[in-house]
Amino acid sequence: MSETTAVSVPQEQDTQTALTKVPTMGVADIWLDKERFDQAVRVASAFSRTDIVPQNYQNKPENCLIALDIAARMGMSPLTVMQSLYVVKGKPTWSGQACMSMIQGCGKFTDVRLVYTGTKGTENRGCCVEATRISDGEIVQGTEVTLAMARAEGWTSNSKWKNMPEQMLGYRAAAFFARLHCPDALMGFQTAEEVEDVSGGGKPKSTAQRLAAALKAETTPATVPVTNSVADALRAE
């Protein structure tokens, strides 16, 4: 029997508990204090039973428990964490969007913004995150990400770089900034885009799978088979 089914608490009471108790929950206490751990398990169980949480968390109180811990550590709402934390290629990853809000919410920076450079639609199009550091008022910049860099690094095999390059530049720029200036904000996790780019965005690995995907994406050509007419003409000669 899994841990999922071993947790048994009255549902209505527990959901109520989840809504009221989460914001006051301690951080390391969840793991060290038996009472608090039991409480966290109940809360996690309650979250797992709602269909408001993303599918990765539904009926998975263990996943919810991890999300609660992260939320408590980062001072975020558990639901925000659940909506921003994906499992990509077996790794927990932050969404690109969440990465930007983590920079904004980590308390070290103000006036966090995306700065786009170069010409839109060309290889020199780039983006970096710029922010004002609260401690000394200095304006700091993250590494600039360009489409040429994305191509050279092989990230563009992830089709999102073709379909929404501006968005991807922004997400990548946010991840670069966070890695450089506030690595603790990401708690060591990668962003979904970082994992997808390296693994080709879920691109099928074998050549046969790649061809099948390309054939599927391609609409049927308008070529008309002409063998019949030619063959018939030859026969008539």
């Binding site: 050549t207 390309a214 088979p225 063998t227 063959a231 030859l234």
Partner: protein, 273 residues
């Protein structure tokens, strides 16, 4: 570019290079005697099938179908036959049976949505390039170069006895198809300046009814083996060209060979001891 111009153009072909795999002597003889011997019936069949599928509008200008029922022993028959020969001058003659088969094969292929997509590109495209490592001039003619979802795909049509993947795979290495995949994709990369190797696909079709089709891609390890083979054979070619020594089975320095036991027999022999 027509067949004659392509043949006359400078460059080593894949089929030439594969002969070096036998021996440089075999290769040299074939190059020096291009018109020796009639093309084999299976070669003619393959050429006609290619023409019918890839360039059906040119089929009639290059091939003539031998009419059935001409009795050349009679005067009328002789006249009819001579008339046919006069009309077919410069064309390759194929039998009515082969024509019916080839037409059936092409009809089956063109009714297949996958084949339609694979062949929706430029047909019979010649490519010429100079190998940067050896300086050897090379040439290939692709059956079809197409783009699927922005991915360049080189398609090669093969008529075969069995298009079943296992059976095709067994023959592929003895015919040098791995070399073909490497050389053809190299041609596209070098000529078009691509940084990624295009996909290579064999479109295989059986010569007997129901003219079964198969689509077989070339994965990375096979492609790498093909590239190694290409590098080795181009290297041998360049060396032979430099030294003028087009050696045979005994090698460049004339060494005897041994009749050693093949792997499977050696295994059996070792097991018996």
């Amino acid at each position: 570019m027509n067949e004659r111009d392509y043949n006359a153009a400078e460059g080593v072909r894949r089929s030439d290079l594969w002969k070096i795999n036998d021996s440089p002597e075999i290769f040299r003889w074939a190059v020096d005697h291009p018109d020796e011997g009639e093309p084999s019936p299976s070669l003619v069949f393959g050429q006609a099938a290619h023409k019918m599928l890839l360039e059906p509008l040119d089929f009639g200008t290059e091939f003539a179908i031998k009419p059935d029922g001409i009795d050349r022993r009679t005067k009328e028959g002789k006249e009819e036959w001579n008339k046919f020969l006069a009309m077919s001058e410069g064309k390759t003659i194929i039998s009515m049976d082969d024509y019916v088969t080839i037409k059936g094969m092409a009809d089956k292929a063109m009714a297949d949505p996958m084949v339609m997509k694979l062949l929706d590109g430029r047909k019979e495209v010649p490519f010429f390039w100079t190998d940067p490592d050896t300086g050897v001039k090379c040439k290939v003619k692709l059956d079809c170069l197409t783009y699927l979802d922005d991915m360049p795909v080189v398609v090669d049509y093969k008529t075969c006895k069995s298009a079943k993947t296992d059976a095709f795979m067994r023959d592929a290495y003895s015919y040098g198809y791995h070399l073909q995949a490497a050389m053809y994709t190299e041609a596209v990369m070098r000529t078009l300046g691509l940084t990624e190797r295009p996909m290579f696909v064999f479109l295989c079709q059986e010569k007997d009814e129901p003219f079964a089709l198969n689509c077989i891609t070339v994965p990375e390890d096979t492609m790498n083996y093909g590239l190694d083979t290409m590098r080795e054979l181009l290297g041998i070619y360049a060396e032979c060209e430099k030294t003028g020594n087009w050696y045979g089975y005994t090698g460049a320095t004339g060494q005897p060979n041994e009749l050693s036991l093949p792997g499977w027999l050696k295994k059996k022999e070792d097991g018996a001891e």
